[in-house]
């Protein structure tokens, strides 16, 4: 049933009277459109191109390297979305508009969705043939992704996002690898559950940058170590 539904939808997209989305499709005839056209498309969809709402779109249509939208990403991306009743989306701009709005509203509540969006941002932001994201750019994305209203990275005691950005600025000199990017979210999710960082231990699989961040947090007093009373073991 799903197969046929998809088929109809695909046909529908072609047959349907062209609406505002046509503009995008038309440009996609050249296989790839750049940021300028994407911005126009975001206006059509009624989302903010300058904040995290745009990242939600990135995840749906698989926007890739340097914010390029491909025909493949666009069609397959929309085709693989399902509405709340479990049927394929209607292929028109209205449905898409509604759908993306609901996704944006889900984002703060749905950790799995956030993770997908978060990971897509890395792919969308980096340059082709390069495996890393420049630090400056990564920092800007973190700041946007960890927006307090969406996915806050702070607790009532500690503002981790702020600390992380300071740490990046002062101590980290390299680019951000995919692994570091992905692990930062995993780490962030843990820190908001335990802001004493008691969950952390050097033996765990965290990347070195995160190990060093934890130590830095303790040294600079960003985080108060939970065990102040444990004395040093003195070797006689």
């Amino acid at each position: 049933a799903a197969e046929s539904a998809r088929a109809t939808k695909s046909d529908g997209l072609k047959r349907q009277d062209m609406d505002d989305e046509d503009l995008v499709i038309e440009e996609l005839g050249t296989d790839m459109i750049g940021p300028a056209s994407i911005e126009k498309y975001t206006e059509t969809l009624g989302i903010n191109a300058l904040n995290y709402e745009f990242f939600v779109l990135c995840e749906i249509v698989q926007i890739d390297e340097l914010f390029q939208l491909t025909r493949k990403g666009f069609t397959e991306g929309w085709m693989s979305q399902w509405d709340k009743r479990g049927s394929p989306l209607e292929a028109n701009i209205e449905a898409h508009r509604r759908y993306i709005r609901s996704r944006i509203e889900e984002l703060p509540k749905d950790g799995a969705l956030f993770k997908k969006v978060y990971r897509q941002v890395f792919l969308a932001g980096k340059e082709p043939e390069v495996k890393t994201l420049p630090k400056k750019i990564a920092m800007a994305y973190w700041e946007e992704l960890f927006t307090p209203t969406v996915h806050p990275w702070k607790t009532k005691n500690v503002n981790f996002l702020e600390a992380w950005l300071v740490y990046m600025e002062e101590k980290w000199t390299r680019n951000v690898s995919k692994d570091m990017w992905n692990q930062t979210l995993e780490f962030a999710n843990k820190t908001v559950m335990d802001d004493t960082l008691g969950f952390w231990s050097e033996d765990q699989a965290w990347p070195g940058v995160i190990d060093d961040f934890v130590l830095w947090c303790r040294e600079t007093g960003v985080v108060v170590t939970a065990r102040p009373n444990v004395g040093m073991q003195v070797d006689d």
């Binding site: 690898s177 692994d179 033996d203 699989a205 965290w206």
Partner: protein
């Protein structure tokens, strides 16, 4: 056997009743006769028993059993139970009478015993016991008929508390006399033992006999054939052990209060030996183990704290004999030695650190030999102690190893660079293996190399040693100043034995290259002679790329005509032999000799030993006496890094003189010094600059870090390739295991390598801290 009495019964049953009255009086009569005989045996056996009496008693017993048959039957005859009873009852009366008789006799003895105490009681008990048991043996024989028939049948039928006559004697003794009197007897025994422990001489045979008596009474009531030690254990061992404990508890407490620990150890040792001896002389072997245990507890375990506290003092003062004594004492109690081992380990570590600190006042000037000797001295000292005082026990050896590993790898010298230990060890090896004036003897050299291996085993960063060693081996081989091929081979095989083939593979290849080169040179010489050309007196070494820690020269070089002609001839010769191989000239390692014939006032021409660069420079002066810096540079094609030091040495040795400036560099000019003078006629100008070797060391250290990263990454990939999926932590510890023989990796470094592999997409992160292998 059983069928016979049954048939008998069939015939005799009818006449049973009539015989009863008659028989009863007869029994009485016969018993009186028997009793008289038994009493005689019991009390006056020493007077002897004549054959007539003996036979009389024997016959009486026989008659007692046989003529009475009908009596028993008639008394209890009834159809239901009588089937076997008839025959069995034949001896019951006699048995009972004997039993009563023995009880009465023993009650008499019991009363008599009350007259004696202490040693007199002991003597009484032993005397009576002996008399009684000897008599019992006689009576046993006299009553053989009873034993063989009535007793045997009763026992076959499984009747309890029926014993053969001898055993009956013992059981009676035990129940009537022993039970009430054994406590007092034991008291007397213990008093004697205490006297002996206090140094008096005692009649220990008495105790031995008491032991024997007590052991004999160990009868198993359920199975007469078996003997047990229960009676003895309860009545002898238990009180004996109690008394022993009390005695030594008291004594040791007092002794410790008044004497030194060392004295106490001697005392305890003597006491323990004494008790062991006691068991051998007059106690039952069964007590050996519990007695030893009791003594160990009160003499050692209860004082173990003060013993252990003394250990540090003994260590500090090298009291080997006392440590040996302490070891042997504490080894007797469970977990007695562990605290000693810890103290020992600590002590050795500190001694090692102190020894290193003493020699490392100025780390930069530290002689490798001095350093290694300091390490070895401590190891030798304490290995000897382990051997002599601690019985060469493996656990102590392990403590020694732990301590040595600590002070070899983390001492004062290592603070200036964690690679220092392996570096200095490798350097010392180099000193030993290099040709030197001292010319150590071969066996001595071999011994020293073995000692090097002792330290080597403790080195954690074996890869660092390998790096330095291979560099220095390369230098020895290239400059052919190795002291002996045998020593080199011996050292390589020692390293191979310790670390495996892979570790020494390159070293071995280097060594082989030199051997092959020798043959090659012979071939080349013949080839040149065959051509009839006049060549240089040259020798070539062909070194396999990748096996030698050498790099191509970092300067361009235009060798002098004379040299290049020979080199090209050799290159052709070599290509002929090995097609497709590429030769790269390592000019920086080439050297030669040139003879001078320009120097005034020289009695003999000087010979200069020079590097090939210096040779190229000097040969320019064959054309003219003065060359500018620029001229030299352009003809030799050497860059400043190679040219300047070469010139500097020639200037310093006053072979050349400088003009138009005083520092080597552009704009200066150089002239030949015709007035050169030197004490020696062979002058070595091919000397490296100090800064060069320093730089080389720094480089070696840098390559170590690089190599380690690669080593770690390849280990990780190897593990993951085999396992496909693995927990992060598991991967880390597995990697440590694989790498540990070479160096001790830091967890942080492993994590970094994992990250690099993640970024290179050799690995991927999976759920739950798992890592996956991406082919």
């Amino acid at each position: 056997m059983i069928s016979t009495p049954r048939t008998c019964r069939a015939f005799r049953a009818p006449c049973g009743v009539s015989l009863l009255a008659w028989d009863s009086s007869l029994t009485c009569h016969r018993w009186n006769y028997l009793q008289a005989g038994i009493t005689k045996i019991m009390l006056n056996l020493q007077e002897g028993v004549d054959l007539q009496t003996y036979m009389g008693i024997y016959t009486a017993v026989h008659n007692f059993c046989t003529s009475q048959k009908a009596v028993g039957f008639s008394v209890t005859a009834n159809i239901n139970t009588g089937a076997h009873r008839g025959a069995h009852l034949l001896g019951e009366d006699l048995y009972k009478k004997l039993q009563e008789y023995l009880s009465a006799h023993l009650r008499g003895l019991l009363n008599e015993s009350k007259l004696h105490t202490d040693e007199a009681l002991l003597a009484f008990y032993i005397r009576e016991w002996q008399r009684y048991t000897v008599a019992a043996k006689y009576i046993h024989h006299l009553f053989r008929y009873l034993n063989r028939h009535w007793v045997k049948r009763e026992m076959d039928e499984g009747k309890k508390s029926i014993f053969d006559v001898y055993t009956l004697h013992l059981v009676r003794w035990r129940d009537v006399l022993f039970e009430p009197v054994s406590g007092k007897v034991m008291g007397a025994v213990l008093m004697l033992v205490e006297k002996q422990r206090n140094g008096e001489t005692i009649e220990y045979n008495q105790i031995k006999q008491v032991v024997e008596s007590f052991v004999s009474l160990g009868l198993d009531d359920t199975d007469v054939a078996k003997t047990t030690l229960d009676v003895y254990r309860f009545s002898f061992e238990r009180p004996f052990l109690q008394a022993t404990r009390a005695f030594y508890q008291n004594e040791s407490k007092q002794f410790v209060a008044e004497n030194s620990v060392v004295e106490y150890m001697k005392k305890a040792e003597a006491r323990l030996d004494e008790e062991e001896e006691r068991v051998k002389i007059y106690l039952h072997p069964d007590i050996a183990i519990p007695l030893k245990k009791a003594c160990n507890e009160v003499l050692i375990a209860e004082h173990s704290t003060i013993l252990r506290d003394e250990f540090q003092v003994l260590l500090d003062n090298d009291r080997e004999d006392d440590m040996k004594r302490m070891y042997s004492l504490l080894s007797r109690i469970p977990d007695g030695l562990e605290p000693l081992r810890q103290k020992f380990e600590n002590h050795v570590r500190k001694a090692g650190l102190a020894a290193v600190a003493k020699v490392s006042v100025d780390v930069d000037k530290l002689e490798p030999k001095v350093y290694v000797d300091a390490l070895l001295e401590i190891h030798t000292q304490y290995q000897g102690l382990v051997k002599r005082a601690f019985n060469d026990e493996p656990e102590f050896t392990r403590s020694l190893d732990n301590a040595c590993r600590e002070f070899v790898n983390r001492n004062e010298v290592c603070k200036s660079g964690s690679n220092k230990s392996p570096e200095l060890l490798a350097k010392y090896t180099d000193v030993l293996l290099r040709k030197s004036g001292t010319g150590a003897e071969e066996t001595e050299l071999e011994n020293t190399l073995s000692q090097i291996m002792t330290v080597f085993k403790y080195i954690e960063d074996k890869d660092v040693f390998q790096k330095f060693y291979s560099r220095m081996l390369a230098r020895r081989l290239v400059h052919s100043n190795s002291s002996s091929d045998d020593a080199e081979t011996s050292m390589i095989s020692k390293l191979k034995e310790a670390c495996g083939f892979e570790y020494t593979n390159k070293l071995q290849r280097m060594f082989q290259d030199m051997q092959i080169s020798k043959d090659l040179n012979t071939g080349f010489k013949e080839h040149v002679q065959g051509l009839g050309a006049k060549g240089l007196d040259s020798a070539y070494s062909i070194l396999g790329t990748g096996f030698w820690p050498l790099t191509a020269p970092n300067t361009t070089f235009n060798p002098p005509e004379e040299i290049s002609a020979d080199c090209e001839r050799f290159a052709r010769f070599y290509r002929n032999k090995h097609e497709g191989r590429k030769l790269t000239w390592l000019w920086q390692l080439c050297k030669g000799e040139i003879k001078t014939n320009y120097i005034r006032n020289a009695k003999m021409p000087y010979t200069f030993q020079v590097s090939i660069y210096q040779m190229a420079i000097l040969l320019l002066f064959n054309e003219k006496d003065k060359n500018t810096y620029e001229e030299i540079a352009s003809t030799t094609q050497l860059n400043t890094e190679a040219l300047d030091p070469s010139l500097s040495i020639l200037l310093k040795a006053k072979v050349l003189t400088i003009s138009d400036g005083d520092k080597v560099g552009p704009g200066t000019a150089y002239s030949l010094n015709y007035d050169f003078k030197n004490k020696k006629f062979r002058v070595n100008l091919n000397v490296g600059m100090k800064s060069e070797t320093k730089q080389e060391e720094a480089e070696t250290n840098k390559t170590i870090e690089e190599d380690r990263k690669l080593l770690l990454q390849s280990a990780i990939v190897r593990i993951m390739k085999a396992r496909k999926r693995m927990k992060h932590q598991q991967l880390v510890s597995e990697t440590i295991n694989q790498i540990r023989q070479r160096f001790v990796p830091k967890v942080g470094d492993i994590k970094k390598c994992i990250e690099i592999l993640l970024d290179k997409e050799y690995l991927e992160r999976l759920d739950d801290d798992d890592l996956g292998y991406l082919a």
